[in-house]
């Protein structure tokens, strides 16, 4: 592995996991706008020279470390737990198995527990299915999907992103990286008319728009540093904490040198759905410095409990 080679990440995409833009884009103007934004991203990917699309999905929780999809052809028909009435999602995805296996090795070199999964019928999650169906429908570019470990937090997630960089540099591959995540994630708890869909609360909307300002300014590292606040303010604690900005920054580069573009921001059954691109650039914005330590290697639990009572 080259220690000095910088990986070439062409651009990053932040997109929502819910299936409406794939299954019912015509049901509302908002869903249709999100679909158009996905289509624009698809076009940009097609026009890029990407060798691989790497997906970090917040709707694929794992327990045994970090799981990496490695089945060469993943074929199934997926149905969403909540939105099953919108229809089925048949898929065939082509994985970059060479990348997946090297990714596991590089995770382990950085102290992470990781494993590849290669099983026919493995239940690829709604977020990954929606993103890959819309961004890479003809499998023009091989992909890799990474899980979100439910017990991991900042350190592990940042190290996971760095393992992606190691692997890209090692294989000299150009990548488009995709985070699948809502902004605010509180949905309405009853069935609604899609035409009346809106962000669940004013507070969620305010925070979402502030986050979008940061994205628009290319302030990815600032968003990474704000993740804990975002989680506390507008995230319902479901299975995993709000980690996508940590992973995206660690993978693309922990700075604010990006051209950001918010292609769409709409409600998805009350949650905040945005399609955003971040392209590496030279100019930096923001006036913040941070004191949270950068992490290169994950050392596991600090064994605080074993240290006993302080004398």
């Amino acid at each position: 592995m080259s220690e000095t080679n910088e990986p070439e990440i062409l651009f990053g995409i932040y997109c929502p996991p819910h299936p409406q833009p794939l299954l019912s884009p015509e049901a509302s103007e908002g869903y249709s706008n999100l679909r158009a934004a996905y289509d624009e991203c698809r076009k940009r990917i097609e026009e890029s020279e990407a060798d691989i699309i790497i997906v970090y999905s917040t709707t694929w929780p794992s327990i045994i470390g970090h799981q990496i999809q490695a089945l060469e052809k993943a074929v199934w028909t997926h149905v969403d737990d909540d939105f099953h009435y919108l229809g089925s999602m048949p898929y065939e995805f082509h994985m970059d198995t060479q990348f997946a296996h090297s990714m596991r090795e590089n995770c382990e070199k950085r102290g992470l527990e990781a494993r590849t999964v290669e099983y026919e019928g493995f239940p690829i999650d709604t977020g990954s299915v929606v993103a890959l169906q819309l961004l890479n429908p003809e499998n023009r570019i091989p992909t890799c999907i990474l899980s979100s470990n439910m017990y991991s937090n900042r350190s592990e997630t940042i190290v996971l992103g760095k393992a992606v960089r190691d692997t890209l540099a090692q294989q000299n591959k150009k990548a488009v990286v995709v985070v699948v995540s809502s902004l605010s994630n509180r949905m309405f708890t009853e069935h609604i008319d899609p035409k009346e869909d809106r962000i669940h609360s004013q507070k969620d909307d305010d925070w979402n728009r502030k986050i979008l300002e940061f994205f628009d300014d290319g302030r990815l590292e600032d968003l990474s540093q704000l993740s804990r606040d975002i989680h506390g303010q507008i995230r319902v604690q479901k299975v995993v904490a709000y980690k996508p900005a940590w992973w995206l920054a660690a993978t693309m580069g922990q700075h604010n040198n990006y051209d950001g573009e918010v292609l769409a921001y709409e409600a998805l059954h009350g949650s905040g759905g945005a399609v955003i691109t971040l392209t590496p650039s030279t100019g930096s914005v923001g006036d913040k410095e941070f004191d949270e330590d950068d992490v290169e290697f994950y050392r596991g639990d600090r064994n605080v409990l074993d240290k006993g009572m302080l004398e």
């Binding site: 045994i64 737990d81 099953h84 493995f122 708890t189 319902v236």
Partner: protein, 301 residues
């Protein structure tokens, strides 16, 4: 028509490890065994159920997580392969199961009348969750009874454990009413563990029992407190203490299954039968049965 009734309520944890350890023909993975305390407990409870006359199993699962109301399986048959997203190395199970759609719709209607948001699931491509498959396989390996699966509406996530208690209890009452009106004899199943903190590493041989133990002593002590109250017939107290238990042990009770089941049974004050307690990859699991029949209720362990 005679009134329907709940003939048993089972707390039936669903670690896929237990099916893996059993090596049934439906599962693709092969093991050398493991987790016998739980598996033997399940076998004994399955034998008891064989001696009970019943028409259907109604199971509440935390692995069909819905945020927009409570959903019910609504087609007569589901046939597919269930692959555990967390332990795919252990669980790739080919299932072919029957659903009691009439009972499912009746429970859905009763729940709706109670003001609970509901939805029938009628997409034939839907994959039944592995919690349902695991608990039902272990309780009835012959799969000779129809089932109804009820999703876990995530009230704990969206509101609080206290709201979950209110909502799941109301759902339980509604299901009990529908069962009574159906004339059917039904076994209820709450499919989940107690304490639920996992190890994030797996032994090279997952069934290596020399590596298996509870995640920490605190989890164990909490689990034992709950089991003790179950033995003493204090089901109402189990529910009262549940918010703290769930928070302290990251318990899978957060999904609402046990609350739903005990609520449907009117919070029984008779002792639960205990069939076994063991850890699986650090989580705490008890198999328990509430048998409302004084003549058949046993002191098992």
């Amino acid at each position: 028509m005679a009134k329907g009734q709940i003939v048993a309520g089972c707390l039936a944890p669903h670690p896929p490890h237990l099916v893996y350890a059993d090596n049934p023909p439906q599962n693709e993975a092969y093991s050398e065994g493991g987790w016998e305390t739980l598996r033997w407990g399940y076998q004994r409870l399955a034998r008891k159920l064989k001696d009970i006359d019943y028409d259907a199993i109604v199971i509440f699962t935390p692995h069909w997580q819905t945020y927009i109301g409570t959903h019910f399986l609504g087609l007569p048959e589901f046939k597919s392969k269930s692959v555990d997203p967390v332990f795919p190395n252990l669980f790739r199970y080919n299932y072919d199961l029957q659903v009691d759609v009439e009972l499912s719709e009746a429970m859905r209607d009763a729940a709706s009348e109670e003001g609970i948001i509901t939805k029938m699931m009628t997409n034939p491509d839907f994959r039944v969750d592995y919690g349902t498959i695991t608990s039902c396989h272990l309780l009835n390996p012959e799969w000779d009874k129809p089932i109804v699966t009820i999703s876990s509406n995530r009230n704990t996530h969206y509101y609080s454990p206290e709201v979950m208690i209110e909502q799941a209890t109301a759902l339980g009452r509604a299901c009990a009413k529908a069962i009574e009106e159906s004339g059917k004899r039904v076994v209820l199943v709450a499919s989940h563990s107690l304490s639920h903190r996992h190890f994030v590493e797996e032994a090279p041989l997952p069934e290596d029992m020399s590596k298996e133990h509870i995640y920490n002593h605190s989890q164990y002590v909490w689990d034992m407190k709950i089991v003790e109250m179950m033995r003493e017939g204090k089901s109402r107290e189990v529910i009262d203490i549940m918010p703290e238990f769930t928070e302290q042990t990251i318990a899978e009770t957060e999904g609402g299954g046990l609350i739903w089941m005990l609520g449907a049974m009117g919070f029984p004050d008779f002792p639960a039968e205990i069939y076994g307690y063991q850890s699986v990859i650090g989580t705490g699991n008890v198999i328990a049965c509430w048998d409302p029949n004084d003549d058949t209720r046993e002191y098992v362990l």
